[in-house]
Amino acid sequence: MRRLLSTSFAIILMAGAAFAAPSAGGKVNLIVQPEPPSLMIGITTNAPALAVGGNIYESLLRYDEKLQPMPSLAKSWDISPDGLTYTFKLQDNVKFHDGKPMTSADVLFTVNDFLMKTQPRHRNTMARVESVSAPDDKTVIFKLKQPFEPFIRSFAFGSQPIVPKHVYEGTDYTTNPANEKPIGTGPFKFVEWKKGSYIKLEKNKDYYLDGKPYLDELIYQIIPDGASRAVAFETGKIDILPGGSVENFDIPRLTALPNTCTTEKGWEYFAPLSWLWLNNRTAPMDNPKFRQAIMYAMDREFAKDVLWNGYGKVATSPFSSKLPFYSEQEPQYAFDPAKAKALLKEIGYDGKPLKLLPLPYGETWQRWAEAVKQNLGDVGIPVEIESTDVAGWNQRTANWDYDIAFTFLYQNGDPAIGVERNYKTTQISKGSPWNNVEGYSNADVDKMFDDAAVAYPAAERQKIYDKLQAKIMEDVPVAWLLELGFPTIYNCKFKDIVTTANGLAESMRDAYIEK
């Protein structure tokens, strides 16, 4: 009886919390790391620029944690059954920060002119588009040349922020003075940027959603040193530490502080996945059995628990589990040194020493390289760790001058966008560390990737991707490590700080302080 009572009491409490109306007011201190070069995210798209710019600019859609579209500047949308026509209805009463209304003309200008000149990735997307038109002020229609299911996920603020036509038309986009004082439609307006110190945004009072945003001010503090950022949070100078802004080893200490919450959400769109490049061109890594042995030899649970403090997840596919079309296929590689040894014996591995290139991104990655070296050493693969800096790492992986190298890559919302670049034969090209660096080439896999990209609808894609994941898991072109977890650490009085797959950057419009 008592349990029943307390349970119902808890339910009442929870319901009460859920229905409490968010209160307006207050300001929040966040970290932006490192200092962005610019906030004009139609031109500068690196992570820190997006982290701030996502509150100033908006795009047609936002995405939830399953990467399903949600309304943003588009109130509603419709996809024709043949998958060729995308019709968007825009929100009412949307104004840019300078007071001028935002209409379909701005959308057309953005996708047909502005981003075509500034974003190579946008040009790739538009190559699949036959035409974009605007029958009236509130409607935009995209017509595709052939069905492309991932298209619905290409309207995020990071890839397609809507910029004001009346400000940019006829000017040189990259030198327009508005880049210094960005003008968007977002919930927050740019106020001030003290270089090396902070960036300040204030509430957009004319925002088209009633009552939103709740917060009056966002202040992005710029603190170059990781230890100082941790201390700033401890002393209360900082309210929210975005994922990745403190070193991993500081996380247990910070999360143990009173009134401190963490969330791993908000990374679903990027879904960073880490792996070891195995240079498929040279012996013994050219043998799939040797590569499988490496998978069995690695204690990835240990890496997750000890080096990443339990955040993240052991990778079970070439796709991150946060990605659409992910499925867990056989074979899976649990930590099994005996199996690794047996495989090595079977192929007659001669004990040739291998060189391991760690990722020069700080302590965690260095320790990780040591753990992998030890794991491989235990099954009889002697490994030597090489030292390198960021430039050296880029150069050596881009020029295929390595045996084994650490890396991690963003998955960007769809296998056709973020995954296939690492496995397709056409993606083997010297000079970039972000493509098929390992040199894996398999005609079947190439064909499956090509078919899956244009298959329609999603269920058809899923069938092909299931087979594809099983095939790649068997071949082990690279040795997958972890789906990285970058927890956001924050003061518990802030609520709803992560409401989309892109995290803090576009969620501050929903965030409020609990009174």
Binding site: V306, Q366, A369, Q374, I385
Partner: protein, 279 residues
């Protein structure tokens, strides 16, 4: 020799230093037998505090590696780097100092300006730059340490040689028609041995410190467990696990202290005039 020991033993500190050094050498020699597993092996759960498990007396580091094993294996690295880099810097410093002091004039000018060039750059900063350029490895570290630590040897030797050059036995050797090489090698250098030995013992200590500092900064050889590396890796968790940085730090302190004490003792023992004056 007996005399030498007597004078050396008169300095209590030096004897203590010698005992510590012998203990460190014994530890490094016994490391492969005491801890046959690699010091990099992750043998237990991470962050075991010291003196709680008999098998892991000094506890484990953030990755579950045995700290005692790391210390023992690290001892040989530190000693080896100290010794080899000192020998290399003596090989550079002695000829330069001897030539400058013996010939004087423009030879002296050229060699001393060259030496001053190296002295004018802060030695640790130079070592960091050298290691960064040549990629961190045990060889590049030894060479970098040698390059930054030879100038004092050259200057010391130049002074010694200059004062010896005007002594009668050298003049006699010149008169007897010996070549310059013979005079430097047979007459002068043997007489400069004692200050060099004293200096060398201090240099070994300094070299161990430089190697530790480089490893601490992440510029050590990534495949070698050294004391500086353990401190560097432990520094990030010092608030959770003080022992990871503390024990290797204490080991460096003791070893460097021991070498300095021995240097003092050697100075007393090899320079009788000085020590007698002290009594």
């Amino acid at each position: 020799m007996k005399d030498f020991w007597k004078r050396f033993a008169r300095n209590k500190g030096a004897v203590i230093g010698l005992v510590i050094l012998v203990a460190v050498i014994a530890l490094s020699a016994a490391a492969p037998f005491l801890f046959p597993k690699s010091p990099w092996a992750m043998v237990q759960r991470p962050f075991i505090p010291p003196f709680t498990m008999d098998k892991f007396l000094l506890g484990t580091d953030p990755m579950g590696r045995d700290l005692a094993s790391g210390l023992a294996h690290g001892a040989s690295v530190s000693l080896l780097v100290g010794l080899v880099s000192t020998v290399v810097s003596l090989l550079i410093g002695i000829p330069i100092g001897a030539l400058a002091g013996y010939f004087g004039g423009w030879v002296d000018d050229v060699l001393m300006r060259f030496t001053e060039f190296f002295q004018s750059v802060p030695s640790f900063a130079l070592a960091v730059v050298l290691v960064a350029i040549f990629q961190p490895s045990i060889t590049s570290i030894v060479i970098a340490i040698a390059i930054v630590s030879w100038p004092p040897v050259a200057r010391l030797l130049r002074g010694e040689v200059m004062s010896l050059k005007s002594r009668e036995f050298v003049e006699a050797a010149v008169l007897s028609g010996q070549t310059h090489a013979t005079i430097i090698w047979r007459q002068i250098l043997p007489n400069t041995l004692s200050p060099i030995i004293v200096l060398a013992s201090m240099m070994v200590a300094a070299a161990i410190l430089i190697e530790s500092s480089l490893s601490f900064l992440g510029l050590g050889d990534r495949n070698v467990m050294s004391w500086g590396y353990i401190i560097g890796a432990g520094r990030t968790v010092i608030r959770q696990a003080w022992w990871v940085s503390f024990f290797p730090g204490a080991a460096i302190l003791l070893t460097v202290l021991a070498l300095n004490l021995i240097g003092e003792g050697l100075n007393d023992a090899l320079n009788p005039r000085l020590s007698r004056r002290g009594k």
